[in-house]
Structures are given as C-alpha cells and as structure tokens.
C-alpha cells in the first residue's frame, strides 16, 4: 500500500499524520492530549464516552475526535473554555454512577496508611481496594480536567461482582460502560463472550443469560483486562501497586508455537505480580492467552516441583545431588548395549539443548534419536511433496509480511486454540474486508466469523474439496490457472457428478456453489492447514485436493503447527537427522520384548510400559518422572536465556533469566557432564549454536522451500480415484445407534508433562479436557444431558467425558480434546478419527 499522509492543524500546530487515522490518533502522535475513555488504538471506535469532543473549523457542532478521520487541511481546536466545561459536565455525569472518592478524596495521600476513608468510600468503590488505582484512565482524565466536585448525588448501583470465575473478576459498580471490553472480546479476539445487556439505568456488561464466564465459552485470554480503563475488569486477586517498586522483564513464552512476548512484573520480594502479553509493535490484547498469562504465573509462583534430581533406590525415589544422579546414569549407560538403549525427546526444550540431546544420543548409540511427534504434520506435508514431486507455495509462511489484502480458507484447524496469534492477525484482516471460508469436520471456534462455513463428514474433507473443484471446472474453467494435467484431471472427474461428490462429503450443493463463488470472486487466497487435516486416513487425498485447488487459484499454503520448535524439528527430520515417533505402542512392544532396556526421555512421553531403566529429564517432576529410575531436572524456559523457533519458523531469543546460572543446569551442561563421565568428547557446537554471531545456523524460515524441483501440474492418481469410488458407494460410515465418529483434537494444555488443568487451580474450570462436544440433536436422540458423565468406548479402551452440547458439531460426530498422557491416548490421537460408542457412566 502507498504511504500517504495528511496535513492538518491542531491547536495552531501543524501536524502530519498517516492517512486514515482518526483526529484523536493524529493528535496523540503529535503529543497533544485529548481526554478519552472509550477509544483505544486497534479497537473500532464506538464514540460512547463523548470526552474527546473537539471543535473542527467548518463543522456546525463539536464532534468526537476518535470517530473522525483526520483530513487534509482540517483546523482543530482541542481545548477551549466551552469544550472543557462540556467535558467536565460529561465527566460529572459518568462519576454520578462511578464511586469517585478516589478522585476527590482529600485524605487520599495518607489513606493507605490510615485506611479510615475506606468506610466513607463504601467498598467496593473505595480506592483502597480498586485494582486500577494509579493506573486508571478515569483518574487521568479527572486530573486533566481538574475536577473539584461532582454536582450529582452518587447513584450507587450496588450490583453484584462477578466472582465465580477463575483469573478474572468484574465489578460492575466501577464500569463506565465504555464498551472497550465488549469490543476487544468480539472484534479483536473473535470470542463474543461479552455484550451490553439491558438499557437505561440498568445497562451493564453481561454474558449469555448472565452466566459466569467459565460457562460462556470465555477463553480467558485476558484481553478485557488489558483494555478496561477502570478497575471494573481486573485480574482476580490483583490489587493496585500502591507505589511499590516493581521489576518488569520480558520473555518469550514457549508454551505453544506462537512464542508470544510476555512481560513479567514481579515485586521486590520476588513474588509474581502479573504476567501480560507485551510487544513493541502491537497492543497487549493482540497476543497471548490463558496459558501464558495466568497459567505460567502459577507455575512460576511455586507450582514447579522437581527442582531436585532423584534416584531410585530400593525404598523408592530419593532426592540426590546432580552429581550422584549423573554418576548413576553414567554407570548404567556404560554397561548398556547401545542397541538396547533408546533416546527420545519432546519438542519443548530450547533448540540448543535439543540439538545437544540429539548428538548425545547419536554419539552414544550410533542410532537414531526419536522425536515424539504425534501430529506428524509438517513431516507428512514435506514427504507428500517429495513423493509427488510438487511444491506448495509457502511464501506466507516464510515472509514476515502478510499479504495486504488476502482471503483465507481454513481447513480442519481450530485456529484460536492451535495458533491464536495467527488467528488474531487473520481476524484483523477480516475487519479490513478479507474473506474467510472454513472447512472443518470437528469443532472450530472461528467458523462463526466465516463468510462461509463448510461442515463435511470427518475424513471426507477431500471429497468436499473435489466437489468444489469439479463445480468450478463446470462453471468457469477459464478462471483456473492452466497447468499440465488439467485435462486429464477433468477427464477423471467427469465420471462423477458434483451432486454425488457433495453428498458423499456431507455438504449440500448450495454450499459447494457458495464456495466456488467466493473462491472465484476473490483473489490472494491462503489455505491454512490444521494438523487434523493430515491426521486421518485420507490425509494424502486431502493434500492432493488442496494441491489442485491451490494450483488453480495460485493460492499460498500455511500449515499451522501448534507446538514450539515444531517447524525446526520437522526440518531436522526431513534432513534425516532425527526420526519421528508418532505413537508409543511400538516402543512399548520393544520394551515388553526386552529389545529396549534403557530409555532416556528428554521432555515427556505418554508411556505405560516402563523399561528396565528409565531416565526422565524434564523441568517438571512429571507423571513419567515419578516412575523413572533417574530423574534429572531440566531448566524451564523462563529460567535461562535460550532460543526457540516459533510456528512461522522464526528464531526467537529469550534473554530473560529467572535465576542465575550457578543455580541451574541447562540441558547442554548436564549432557556435557554425562559425556565426560562416559569419556565422550564434548558436545559439538554446543556453545555456538544460537549464539549471537551465528543465529543463521538456525534460521529455518526457508525450511519449507528447500525442495526446489517441484512440478506444477494437476494430479489425481489412480489410488485416489479408487478411494473416491469406494467412498461414494459406502454410506456415511454406517454408524450404529450410540456410535460416533470421534474427532480427536489437539490439546496444548499438556506441556512437557505438566498438565495445566490439574496443576493450576481454576484452570480446569476455564478449559476442562474432559468435555465431550456433541450436537444437541444427538444429545436428545441418545437420551443424554448436558453435564452428564459418560464413557466413550473405543475398540480397545475407554475414556471418560462430560457431555457438552454444541451446535458447531455435526450430528454423528463427537469431539474430544484429551491430554495425551498415556499410550492408548497417543494411539487414538495419532489416528485422528476413530469410532467410539457413548455409554452413560453409572457411578
């Protein structure tokens, strides 16, 4: 886009501003303060507070600066006697409903010591308890306007506070109804949990039927806390800082692939005050989630056990020194036969430590080191390309810039929970007019925002895409990009009717048509692939269908990897440097057959079968750790400077250091000590990896485009034709009564063996992994009820769950998001789509 500026005069001062900004923003950028309470950059203007009224030459009346676009040649007066009087009136009106003692009380300076005014200021309005005191926008505006009195009698609203939710509380008596929270929740985050209820005197912020947030599908992203100008929305248990000295440090969250920047605020005594998303180039509410902001705080505040190494003796696990633990481990490894020893890791450690672990394992056993990667996502994608000698266009992954105007087609990805920052960027584009199509056979929390939502049957995604392609061929073949193979493809597809393809995919012809119209009518498409799209038996067909469509549309592909370092490790796997393990049954068979006697797990692994000798090396004293023979504590990411690779392949440096080096042993240090004991050479490159002078060594943004000989041609191999044939003749999977297709979703709430819902208080209210989503129709048909405990019986095992009706799930489908804690779950997760029968629990 062309950079354009406008020139205007504010209070006689010449101001230059970017075209398109509001008068309020232009003034702000020029350092001119205009009082405002409802406006916030990035949020759509509601102009509800009326404080920012300004005088613009040539306009008959005062107008709100926040809702007025700055134009060339405007002459604006932001402050005059009349304007200030008006503002004072408005403020007085606001304050007639908002306790104002904190603004006017003469005893404020000593209040904290004496706490006498508390009584006068009738709690909860009293500033002593207001969580925002000192940081409140209302206070700022009041002091600018130098308010001395409020002529109206305070109308005490006496509303109940919201206290039922974890992490967030709301005090409606402090609310000035600016609407920011409603806006941020709906427009920015796309959650639409909050709304304005009632009208007139009883107007308030509310939720669906005024249920607590935890029952209103609130994601507890905390964005409403970031925007509230007053203390009305506040973090539970957080009070005003009262001039305390606070330390603030930044770090990279590596709890998921987004790698958000977080700001950690701690008090002088070292206790944690608050964690909030922070970033140079965007407001806090544009990133972050419940895990990073509330969950991490609790882990850091002391929920992290496993500080000590442990060694199994005949009396069980005993705390030992690191030296003792490593010696015991070295002794065992010295005797061990290399081929009976396996090295497995999960992705959560810093990249330099992961690399060090890989070379330790390879040097020791001369065999492959395994990465436990149940998604098998990016690696499948890459393998598919190589096998078919084709190459998707990944430019939106590798470039840091998003296309200015783009449209998005999301396939089987609940983006909000798998890569929330990506979703926030897309949502921003949607506000600017981008189009969105979702195609999802499971649960998708962003599909309500879509211009078109397609709900195919699970496993039949590719048929839906083929139906779209086929109809397109029929309607406007000329608009498809021409490449070799088109005629052949058209020929093969000519055996099928759009109707039958659509019907067997579970879509109506009307929605297939709508999809064609949207796709053909807009340019710059990006296909966003979720890991679920590739975690089902028909994943190859899915990819082929996407390939053809993306070729015809010249669309880009953006695979959404949800875990930190996933992009980096997938690259290592593609290069053959590590091996991928997608589920643990094979390993367990080897353990049972005594083929594997020693197992070194760096991170976490869902394992039921215990090998003879188990080493667990993990920041948390995890479930697996408690069954180990040697447990080594690894450093947790906020504890030590290090590097991570985010879901777009960017290397991120975490310079934050919670503890000093002496107290901690990084993975590398531990591995080197072990090497010494085993008389192995020091780990190569261990210090230079990721060091400042050669971060390129790890720059992997180009990882997906390495394969440079891809052909551009349409494809429909014979196997796929056969598969279509069989799917067309088969009915919808032939489910019997009580039986469902179970879609197994990604759940990121298990991090390196630390499970948030169990370990962090309040977390399971916010996100209960036991919820089983099911269409309300099925709930009725099967005689179930919301909130009921059920058993889901799979071919071999059983899983417990709690029924939650959701209209977003199609009948016959059941969606679960288990924490993958044992090998049975790793098995059904890896399969992605399984059959299960629901049965009531009788206990």
């Amino acid at each position: 886009m062309e950079e354009k500026t406008v020139k205007l005069k504010i209070n006689g001062q010449l101001v230059e501003a970017e075209a398109g900004v509001s008068v309020l923003q232009a003034a702000r950028q020029a350092g001119i303060y205009i009082p405002s309470l409802c406006e916030l950059e990035e949020l759509p203007a509601t102009a509800s507070c009326r404080l920012c009224l300004v005088d613009i030459k040539g306009r008959p009346s005062f107008i709100p600066a926040c809702a007025t676009r700055a134009e060339d040649g405007m002459e604006i007066v932001t402050s005059s006697d009349e304007l200030e009087r008006l503002r004072l009136d408005i403020l007085e009106m606001i304050l007639s409903e908002h306790p104002y003692f904190c603004l006017l009380c003469g005893e404020k300076a000593t209040c904290h010591d004496l706490k006498v005014t508390m009584a006068k200021a009738f709690e909860p309005g009293g500033c002593v308890f207001c969580p925002k005191d000192g940081q409140c926008d209302l206070q700022r505006v009041a002091s600018y306007l130098n308010i001395k009195k409020v002529s109206f009698k305070l109308r005490e609203r006496s509303r109940f506070q919201w206290l039922k939710d974890p992490f967030i509380s709301h005090n409606p008596n402090l609310c000035i109804l600016c609407g920011r929270c409603v806006n941020v929740c709906g427009e920015i985050r796309g959650e639409n949990v909050l709304t304005v209820v009632n009208r007139g005197e009883t107007t308030a912020i509310g939720t669906f039927y005024n249920h607590p947030l935890k029952e209103s599908n609130c994601s507890f992203c905390g964005a409403c806390l970031d925007v509230c100008p007053t203390g009305a929305m506040s973090e539970k248990g957080l009070f005003a800082d009262r001039g305390e000295k606070l330390n603030s440090q930044e770090m990279i969250c590596s709890l998921c692939g987004c790698g958000c920047e977080l700001e950690i605020e701690s008090r002088e005594d070292g206790s944690w005050r608050r964690i909030s998303p922070s970033s140079q180039d965007q407001p806090a509410f544009m990133s972050g989630c419940l895990r990073g902001r509330f969950g991490l705080k609790e882990i850091l505040a002391g929920n992290k056990p496993g500080e000590s190494p442990y060694l199994r003796t005949k009396d069980g696990l005993e705390k030992v020194s690191l030296e003792e633990a490593l010696s015991a481990l070295a002794a065992r490894l010295k005797e061990a036969r290399a081929e009976e020893t396996a090295f497995v890791f999960s992705e959560s450690a810093p990249v330099e430590d992961l690399l060090a672990f890989v070379s330790l394992g390879q040097d020791f056993s001369q065999r492959d080191v395994f990465w436990y990667y149940p998604e098998n996502f990016l690696s499948r994608l890459k393998g598919f390309e190589e096998q078919n000698r084709l190459e998707f266009d990944y430019s939106s992954l590798s470039s840091n810039q998003w296309p200015d105007k783009g449209c998005f087609f999301i396939l089987d990805s609940d983006l909000k929970s798998e890569a929330v920052t990506l979703w926030l960027k897309i949502k921003k584009q949607l506000r600017a007019g981008a189009r969105l199509i979702t195609l999802d056979s499971g649960f998708n929390s962003v599909e309500v925002q879509a211009n078109l939502k397609l709900k195919p049957l699970p496993g039949r995604e590719y048929l839906a895409l083929l139906a779209i392609f086929k109809l397109w061929l029929e309607k406007q073949p000329g608009s498809l990009k021409f490449y070799p193979g088109l005629e052949e493809l058209a020929g093969k597809l000519s055996h099928y009717q759009v109707e039958e393809l659509a019907a067997s995919s579970g879509l109506s012809v009307a929605s297939v048509e709508a999809a064609v119209n949207l796709l053909a009518g807009n340019n710059h498409w990006t296909f966003i692939l979720g890991e679920r799209f590739l975690r089902q038996a028909s994943w190859q067909e899915n990819l082929l269908a996407v390939w053809n469509l993306s070729l015809g549309l010249a669309a880009q592909i953006l695979p959404v990897s949800s875990k930190i370092n996933e992009v980096f490790l997938a690259r290592l796997a593609t290069q053959g440097k590590i091996k991928i393990m997608t589920e643990t049954r094979n390993l367990e068979d080897l353990i049972k057959g005594k083929k594997i006697r020693n197992l070194y797990v760096y991170g976490d692994l869902p394992l039921d079968e215990k090998p003879e000798f188990l080493v667990v090396h993990n920041p948390f004293f995890s479930r697996l750790g408690k069954r180990s023979d040697v447990f080594l504590p690894a450093s947790f990411f906020p504890e030590q400077g290090n590097h991570f690779v985010d879901n777009r392949g960017r290397l991120k440096k975490n310079s934050f250091c919670l503890k000093n080096e002496a107290e901690l042993t990084s993975g590398r240090q531990a591995f080197n000590k072990l090497r010494e004991k085993l008389r192995m050479a020091e780990c190569p490159d261990s210090e230079s990896v990721g060091s400042d002078n050669q971060p390129e060594a790890l720059l992997v943004s180009d990882h997906m485009t390495e394969f440079k000989s891809g052909l551009k041609r349409y494809l429909l191999p014979e196997e796929m034709v056969l598969k279509i044939q069989s799917n067309l003749t088969e009915d919808r999977g032939g489910l019997t009564f009580g039986e469902f297709m179970v879609v197994v979703e990604q759940n990121l709430d298990l991090y390196s063996g630390f499970d948030f819902p169990t370990e962090v208080s309040g977390y399971n209210q916010a996100r209960n992994p036991e919820l089983v989503l099911i269409n309300p129709e099925d709930v009725g048909r099967q005689g179930l009820q919301a909130g009921q405990a059920v058993k889901i019986n799979f071919a071999k095992d059983t899983l417990g769950g709690i029924i939650k009706p959701d209209f977003g799930i199609i009948p016959g489908v059941l969606v679960i998001r288990p924490l993958i804690t044992d090998s049975f779950l790793s098995h059904i997760y890896e399969q992605g789509l399984v059959r299960g029968a629901v049965e009531l629990k009788n206990d």
Partner: protein, 170 residues
C-alpha cells in the same frame, strides 16, 4: 391457553419451522426474534443457541438484543401479556381506573406477573394511537376505547383462549 405445547411439537421443531423459510442472514434476526416471541412467548437458552448457530451471531449478542427491547421476554411464566396505556391521552380518558380493574380482577399490581395463571400486567407509555384511547394491548392485540366492563371480558377471554395470538394482528 397459548401454545406451550403447540400441537404437540417440541420447541426445537417450532424454531426450525420458523427458520425454515428464512435465509441465514443476520438482518433477518430481529424479525425471527419477534416470531419466536409471538409463537413461544419467551426465549429459552436453547432457542437462543439454536438461532445463534443458524445466523452465525454470538449467543451473547442475541442476549444483549433480548434484554434491550422490552418486547422480548426471557421468562416462560408470563404467557399472557397485558399492557395498559398510561400516556397522557389515555390517562385523561380514564385508563387509571382500567389498570385498577385489571389489578383487582387478576390480583396483580402493575409490573407484576403471576406465574400460576401466566399473566403479566404492565403499564406503558403512549402507544401512538391516542385517538382510540384508552388502549389496552393483550398479547399483541389492540383493544380500543376500553371501558371498565370490557376489562372483565378481556380477563375472561384469557382463560378461554379467545385472545390467543392467532387473532392478534397489529
């Protein structure tokens, strides 16, 4: 009595039949909400969820709309709605006595509803048809120039179903 059973159809079916001819465009939402109010008399959570899904609007937003307009009821108990105009013109023509008579007959104060008999009594401001005052609106049906005697008839009609919504055309 009015449609609590609606000819044996369950609530989801009623909602479905109302949605049937309606494109899932949010500009049809308010119309649909009025239809639900007319057909079912109130909004249960399930109905709102069903509508939210259909129109791709958040349930919270619909709830906001429902609580904003007094035309929508969230409570099942009040099946019959009696509104007596207390605007200036109707007042001058004696609407106060009418309100009192309703109160006496129903045992209800203005602003109350009786969940047992399923009737609510409300006093409202000018309905914009002063010429035919005093005006009483029962379940959407307008009664013009109401006198005390007619009040009894109206109340009797409530129990016989005479005032059911089918005849209520505004």
């Amino acid at each position: 009595m009015k449609n609590d059973t609606d000819g044996g159809r369950g609530v989801p079916e009623v909602v479905e039949s109302l949605l049937a001819g309606l494109p899932p465009d949010r500009k049809n939402l308010i119309f649909f909400l009025h239809e639900v109010q007319r057909e079912l008399g109130y909004f249960s959570e399930e109905v709102v969820l069903q509508a939210a899904h259909y129109f791709s609007v958040s349930p919270a937003e619909i709830f906001g709309i429902l609580t904003f307009y007094s035309a929508f009821k969230l409570n099942q108990s009040c099946v019959h709605q009696i509104k007596v105009c207390q605007g200036t013109a109707c007042h001058v023509r004696g609407s106060e006595a009418i309100v009192k008579e309703f109160s006496r007959l129903l045992g209800l104060k203005p602003g109350e509803f009786d969940s047992r008999i399923g009737v609510s009594l409300e006093v409202v401001n000018c309905l914009g048809c002063c010429a035919i005052g005093p005006v009483v609106v029962v379940d959407g049906k307008y009664y013009a120039r109401v006198n005390i005697k007619e009040v009894e008839k109206i109340v009797a009609g409530l129990t016989t179903g005479e005032n059911s919504h089918e005849s209520a055309e505004v």
